[in-house]
């Protein structure tokens, strides 16, 4: 990785929060600034996207804002879903269904408590070759339930072990539906990466840009590094960087989990909203993180443009059965001459979003 300038296929970002309304109108046009031409769209609007009609209508609102971007749509797993809706969704070209455990992150109040009750849905998804996207965290143990877990000899669940304690659920679903394509989203731990490697080829994982940059020390006290799952230890961070470059037999690919919040939801006296906004520098932040990892000796200097492209684009497109390059255009990255913006504002100036690594040097990206 001694190059000053590289050309890559456009990035495919397989985990993106675009929101709705004014925020959506601000965020969607930043997708291509981050070198991305393909976006997998999360369904956690308020109310969540739970019907084919709602997904179509959402796409109709997004697409005009970025005509050159390919959007892959998802539904939000709730009790209102039926196998028939899954059949219809597959016919309508909806790619996947996202499962949020109830209450663990932004707009997950409608999420899942009991996975087995959704097995008929998973069955229909497997039959239709749809993708199941898992937010892989067990809900934290309420303080009132502590004694029960202590008596059972179980660890209480906190934000630190929530991902690890979700992994048996991943294996259970995978064992029950071995052909169902499953993505364990935004992995933050070596344990999660190992679990995905142990599964069959139908199970993959996304890795975000921000988890390549931070660990839990950076989260405590810094609202702009706070996301769910929270970043873990340095060992985990390094494992993620290595997994991104090494690829895990095609299993590890990029999904930014970019999540815009108005600055007012991140600062002030109330608890901060969970999520890091990386969209406008998605590719640049990944390249920068890997560059730093090379500089620090975490990975070999032999990182090539091809291995970067594999993480950012090829592996994910293959898992999602997309053509290799959506449009044939390329993105070019240069080592110097750009900074992450301090803030993004919408046209009327009433929404401000502060990006992850605001104000820091980053790679310069241009479309070719």
């Amino acid at each position: 990785m001694d190059f000053e300038k590289i050309e890559l296929a456009p990035t495919a970002d397989f985990h993106v929060h675009l929101r709705d309304g004014e925020m959506m109108r601000m965020v969607v046009p930043t997708i291509r600034l981050g070198g991305v031409d393909t976006v997998y769209v999360m369904p956690n609007l308020i109310p969540p996207v739970t019907t084919v009609e709602a997904a179509k209508s959402y796409l109709a609102r997004i697409q005009p804002l970025a005509p050159d971007v390919k959007f892959l749509m998802t539904l939000y797993m709730t009790e209102s879903l039926t196998p028939e809706i899954i059949d219809d969704a597959a016919s309508a070209g909806i790619t996947g269904v996202k499962v949020y455990p109830a209450g663990v992150t932004t707009n997950s109040q409608s999420g899942v408590v009991d996975y087995e009750s959704f097995f008929p849905i998973f069955e229909a998804m497997q039959r239709n070759d749809m993708v199941l996207n898992l937010h892989g965290e067990a809900p934290s143990t309420p303080s009132g339930n502590f004694i029960a877990s202590e008596k059972a000899g179980e660890s209480a669940v906190s934000v630190l072990n929530a991902e690890k304690l979700f992994l048996p659920t991943l294996h259970k679903i995978h064992n029950a539906f071995p052909k169902l394509r499953i993505v364990l989203e935004h992995c933050t731990t070596r344990d999660a990466l190992d679990a995905v490697l142990k599964c069959g080829p139908s199970v993959a994982a996304t890795i975000t840009a921000h988890h390549l940059w931070i660990c839990v020390d950076d989260v405590c006290g810094d609202a702009f590094n706070f996301c769910k799952p929270v970043a873990k230890t340095m060992e985990d961070r390094v494992a993620l960087v290595r997994a991104a470059v090494e690829g895990g037999n095609g299993k590890f690919f990029f999904g930014s989990d970019s999540a815009p919040h108005p600055v007012t939801a991140k600062t002030g006296v109330k608890k901060a909203a969970a999520g890091c906004f990386t969209q406008s520098c998605a590719t640049q932040l990944v390249i920068g993180a890997i560059e730093e990892a090379v500089a620090k000796g975490w990975i070999s200097r032999e990182v090539t443009a091809a291995s970067l492209e594999d993480f950012l684009s090829n592996r994910g497109r293959k898992f999602y059965k997309l053509p290799e390059h959506a449009h044939g255009r390329k993105i070019q990255l240069e080592r110097k001459g750009a900074k992450v913006p301090d803030v993004l504002k919408n046209a009327t100036g009433d929404i401000e979003v502060i990006p992850f690594r605001r104000g820091e040097d980053t790679w310069k990206l241009t479309w070719k």
Copy 2:
């Protein structure tokens, strides 16, 4: 703990940040609101209190603001200290020396890197029967040092394991100076409590009010729950509550680590300053936390006023060789009728401090 109203000896708070200047003038008068008549004063001013003269002068600034409170003064461990200064400090009635590992918390930039180089100071302290107060955290591993720790087969240090990885240093100092009274400050883990129990009777530990209330889930995304050491798991929180009540053979007593920060240092875009402000409700918050622990079954309902008083007052006074009650007055707590303030402001309104558990119901405290 079924009482609605209890009378206790005034609380002795063995770890307090009073700051200086305008902030000090605001904070010191809140000490008695928290039911406290004895305060162990931290020396991490800017610049730190490193001379007998500076400690005397600091006391002269504090004492007029709360004439009824007993202040115990400390020095800040730096390379400028000498055994002669320790002798002078002991003669001048300075009680202890606080060690901050370099860089781990607010105003610790002048802190300690190599403990062995301070052994002549510890020797002089032991000879003078002064108390060594340890901020028990190993500094986090810089990202550039990760490969060295990996090659050595060592865990990288993060805010999560920093306290545990400090414990060998505690044992080393204790073994070298078995008669030196040592306080491992603001313990956050069961590991730390266990380590203190394993030491001889010269080693004790303080427990804060806020660590009885929160775990790491409450820290991530909430600047007002962010302090160093950061709160850990539910298991650790429950272990702290139990240790406070059970007492650890006299080793576990109260030190709030109350640390006021202007609201501007806690909110906004920059990383938040570390510290929770609990001074004005110090006793109330402890009683409330133990009440909650009883309600949740973490400890038996047999908690008595005597055991609360042991934690809040008696054990610490005994370890510090103080008379049992400084003034003979009592504090009365009633279960209902008070709230933690939303904010504290100084007279001119230019400093605002937001307390821990702002706006929540708490016990009502009156002096008898």
